[in-house]
Symmetry: C2
Subunit: 144 residues, 2 copies
DNA sequence: TAAATCTCTATTGACTAGATAGGGATTTAG
DNA sequence: CTAAATCCCTATCTAGTCAATAGAGATTTA
């Protein structure tokens, strides 16, 4: 299960993606529109800023905007920030590999083989879906 | 990430699968061979018993054995018991569907569409891999 | 009948998730 | 200039979960 933080992040980013290029959007506006606790959202956006998923603009009329084109921000990008690796085990994580604590011999581990296949399958899906993909679906459904 | 409980469960079940049909195996034997805390393993096997993944035999010379053929116990079966639904969101879970707490309109949710695709991809993998598959891989690697 | 097992309930410590609070730093519109 | 509006940071709290442990009761069969 993804965390509440991940849901908030995705909703906020989709909100930004839907605005297009109309300048930075205030935290308060996003928070109210998407019903996200303001301070919590603040913390989330700060985290999303580090890897460049969003950009911040300070001062009066400041706010947040997407750090790059919506089509270049995948669901995988976002979930990795909010929830850590997509993989079901550290030993099959590509972005954050780590040996399992009590692993005897990784190359032989039959559990690992299954989890690796699972990781590849989810990563392929989540990396192929971008904010642009999602925003377009919303538009098509008439929700925008 | 899967829980430690899930790791222990999979290891214990693989151990049972590797034994074949040589009667029930004692908890202590599994615990020592696989380096799993005895009492914790006890609790795990009890949970695996409810849905029939294992069968218990009481009294002297008692122990645990697989509840059905190893080829009919998938990784998905096990992970659902130890870690709950495979889905990344309750609203895309097939076995344990639940509406998201703050969902506006599910049929339009673009986040849901992506998570649903992810769920289908992982479920397909994890349901197609059984204890038998894994045991056979171990045999081929010469680890058995 | 007693040894060896399963079964159950309760508890503990460490850690994380989700949320809140308050104030300091920075920018830029006016 | 300067002050309003923002970003930025640290600390804290509560509730819940994970992993593990303990102890005793129930059941079976050698």
């Amino acid at each position: 299960m993804i965390s509440q933080k991940a849901r908030y992040a995705l909703r906020a980013l989709l909100y930004l993606a839907a605005q297009g290029d109309t300048g930075p959007v205030q935290i308060s506006e996003i928070a109210e529109s998407e019903k996200i606790p303001r301070k919590f959202l603040e913390a989330i956006l700060l985290e999303l800023k580090k890897p460049g998923i969003v950009r911040s603009h300070r001062g009066r009329q400041g706010g947040y905007s997407l750090g790059r084109s919506a089509k270049d921000i995948s669901f995988a990008d976002v979930l990795r920030v909010t929830d850590g690796p997509l993989a079901l085990s550290p030993c099959v994580s590509v972005m954050a590999y780590r040996k399992c604590d009590d692993c005897f011999e990784e190359s032989v581990c039959a559990i690992r083989k299954a989890l690796l296949a699972a990781r590849d399958a989810t990563a392929e899906i989540l990396e192929s879906r971008s904010l642009a993909t999602a925003a377009q679906q919303l538009k098509r459904s008439g929700a925008l």
